[in-house]
Homo-oligomer: 323 residues x 4
């Protein structure tokens, strides 16, 4: 396991709990020491990892997408041998996966991309994984994925004869999505959907909250209890979901959410999802609006807003200037 | 129970199973007979209902929103007596509730609006209910709602001390949202969110599906198995939800969804939610885009599309004419 | 002319320049006096207006839409006689026009609604007017509208045989749009389009401006001169327009637009246009996004933004809190 | 002039009318012959062009963006000499310009990208051009651009002292936007705005048209004359523009626009504009909605629509199946 941040560290621990042996490496020696305390074999460098893994090594990289992942894969490629497997469990762009897999295949090394959902809850609940790579390699890796995945648990089975489902893994919480890149592609769309779902709730609660607004005639205002509303929707309604569960928890703690700034970050997947939609000529108004809402949350006034004011001043003499 | 369609009939049955006595009426005599077979007291007219309910009657109306609900409430108002309660369990517009409640209050009759979610699954799972009305009346009606609601069931409790939650009912699957109209207002926003969530999934699966499109370079295509993807996302991912469960069932039956036309209806709540957003000056890009996607699904080419073609022909000589 | 604000005063002056006689009234005596200095007959009350107009009076109301217009029309209705014409030249909601026209028709009074575009430039350029009312009345009023309208001027004629155009007035800058309400309906959609056009420019210039952003790799940045760009687009490009002319003027004065706050107001027409779209089930994503951009420009962080942060904290431990 | 299609041919003719000498080449010999008839020097191959242009050659390429432009530039690069200038007047992606300019600079060849607006009207009205390249080269090329541009014409001057405008060219209808790539970047955003403007009109006219819809109560319908409305808006209204002029022409010919299919194409610039917005983290809801409306115009029912139907069937038993 290369990269022992929140995700990498937790996954390593879940694997060890499941009986797997882990060689652990991170630039941060403290992180390595902690995981060694929990039973991992500490490594001090990639060369050391190489030596300790031996033949048929499985390199699992769990680093932030971008330059650091790219460089690490290059460094490993220089040390890996035929029969090794390099797994990128981060949030890489799927076209990078396709490129890397091609390059590594020439060395006889397999590249596997794993899109992972589950966040901070994954160590306990298990990780939902979407995997790209060759089927032969997945067969070899299945015991690892089975340990990381949530398994069937107490989630009800979809009642079907599954004529169109092909992958036995799906019910255990992971799938072989396709060739290299397909794992991160499916995870990317997953995150695109996530943005859309979150924004749908966000707008709905905003409308509920603003129903007390003094912009409304007094006899049309309601002072609604959002905490109760989130709670009741969890129980029997069409919009129950895990994101709603999390919203209910947050609102129960503080219905005003005062501790949150409202400047919302976005990672690459939202943007890449829209890129993919455009490449495929698929209209994706909701997913795009959700992404743009995040951009907008981080800007007090856009330059475009000012141009609107300038035009309004130009044709109507409307004054929208700072007081 | 006035109105014994799919919703009304099932709710009456759940109530009877829970030990409540039901006087049942519908214009459709066959529906009344069926419910009587299941134990209800059959009524042949609203006058007959009046007689059979006696004093302190609780009139539960479960009819399509609009003219028929309006007329039925007017007819009942003429027969109801002080101390009666009129409940509209349909999907009325909340401003109609406010108006009706005021009118009935002058007769000493209470009006209660119940927004109900749960659909065809409600009889078994219980109904999630958002209720507007006076607290005193709700206290009287609580036994009815407790029977209809799902109760705590096996849904995990939100871990909190609930400083901001006020309504004990929320954990049982119903809430007192506020004065008359508040129930349907919350239900309306619920449906607005529902549209947004559904469209987020719809766009995501569209992007996955179209990844096999021949609009893409051949080495960038993936032929993804949507059935497996929906299934795996149900297990440990951030976007798990009941709507995803339903999607997984539908895809498992037929991954091509050939039996569905793709012309998607919308009921009033989506539109009213946007109206509310505009009245409150709340930006609701996602909920609106979701609503408009439904309008668009029912139109092959808009007139606006043709005007675009006409302009393109005008400035660029581009020809977009039927072959 | 009842109401001598910027619009009413300028229109009265253009009419007087065109040889029309004006009885002028406003609550603000100073405004009346000024117009009287320019040649109008001053009136001190609506009764005084009544007397000075004599039989077959034409009451032109030029007041802010809403309560004040409504009350003034009611007051005039009480004084008006059969054969009079009441003109609402403001921005009333077209359904109010339909209602008022019906009520006044019972008194034998004609109601005419005039949607007026032209803003502060109208006195000099002429006003573009969309008119609802009976054709017989319009024939009587045509000399007034001809004076107010820009006329053919130096705008090129649309080269056609006009098989589908019916109204000779269109080329002079006003039309008989239909029965009462139709004038304001067309003006309402005009303003909806205006919002869309403005936002298209706003977003485009925002993208140009942000191309110098340090979010981009250094070798992909351009420091573009927006003043020159707006100017060049006025000359031969597909997107030349009067709004672009105004943008070019504003940017030429100050390319940073520092004097504008960027909090952009919206009047009722944008919202009503979306209402109309929803009533007709017409998807109007662009016009809606333009309206919502204005709402958003006036809010630093929505409650929805905070909920997004709260969910992100919930599933990923992401911290988006004020520093 | 390499590429004698509608754009290239017309530009060559405008240049010759302006006294410039043109060597003309196209794979289509007929196109070359026609231009030679109009006074151009015919070339039979790129080698022949090379020879006929002599030293300090200016290669103007006017071909569809993509592979053919790329290959042609490569072929020219192999033949061009130090001091030559290669101009790409098509709609290339600006990042391709940056790359090409770097490569050619190593050979001492200048690369200039010219974004051109004007369409089929450009030969007569002149072309609006946004140019990227080194200032020294532009100075050499200015006589060419001056001939192609519309010049000041009868378009009113923006009344300013131009403290923020730097480029004398802007008033003549072309600008030096910045280094290589900047020309096509500005043109790209121009087209993004164009999509937004067009869609704003399209939605507005759709709302006007659908006001006669039988979805509305009969007394709220208006049967509006779109031809007259487009015409009147050209005269004194805030939304007058060249695109509106074109709309007025199209509607005057046939108010029903029956000859247009309503399947609307999009070229790359719309998509690239959204890419740029996302790279800069600029919300661009209107421009995106405009692009997606075009995608949607070409699809009868999306897969996402079917999934919506499937979910609705799942939770509510709603049947949306083909009859």
């Amino acid at each position: 396991m290369i990269g022992l941040g929140r995700m990498g560290g937790n996954m390593a621990r879940r694997l060890m709990t499941g009986g797997h042996e882990i060689v652990a490496y991170d630039r941060d020696e403290e992180a390595v020491r902690k995981l060694a305390d929990d039973g991992a074999i500490a490594a001090t460098s990639l060369d050391d990892v190489r030596e300790k893994l031996g033949e048929g090594a499985i390199w699992w990289i769990m680093l932030p997408a971008g330059a650091i992942t790219e460089q690490t894969i290059e460094a490993i490629a220089a040390k890996a041998a035929k029969g090794d497997v390099v797994i990128d469990g981060g949030n890489s762009f799927y076209k990078d996966d396709i490129r890397r897999a091609k390059a590594l295949a020439e060395q006889g090394i397999d590249y596997v991309d794993v899109g992972t959902s589950g966040g901070v809850w994954g160590r306990e609940r298990g990780y939902c994984m979407m995997i790209g790579g060759r089927e032969e390699v997945l067969t070899r890796l299945d015991p690892i994925f089975e340990t990381l995945a949530p398994g069937m648990g107490d989630i009800t089975r979809t009642p079907y004869d599954r004529p169109d489902g092909e992958d036995w893994r799906a019910e255990k919480g992971f799938i072989h999505a396709g060739p290299p890149g397909a794992g991160h592609f499916v995870k990317m769309v997953h995150n695109g959907i996530e943005y859309g779902l979150m924004q749908a709730y966000a707008e709905g609660f905003d409308i509920l909250k603003s129903k007390a607004s003094d912009k409304l005639p007094e006899d049309e205002r309601f002072d609604l209890n959002l905490t109760d509303i989130a709670e009741v929707w969890r129980r029997g309604s069409v919009i129950s979901s895990w994101l709603l569960d999390l919203s209910a928890i947050a609102l129960a703690k503080d219905e005003m959410l005062v501790q949150f700034s409202g400047s919302v970050a976005d990672s690459g997947e939202g943007q890449w999802t829209i890129d993919a939609a455009m490449e495929e000529k698929v209209p994706a108004n909701v997913l795009t609006a959700a992404l743009f809402a995040r951009y907008r949350s981080r800007i007090e006034h856009t330059f475009g807003d000012k141009l609107l004011s300038a035009m309004r001043y130009g044709f109507g003499g409307h004054v929208e200037m700072p007081q």
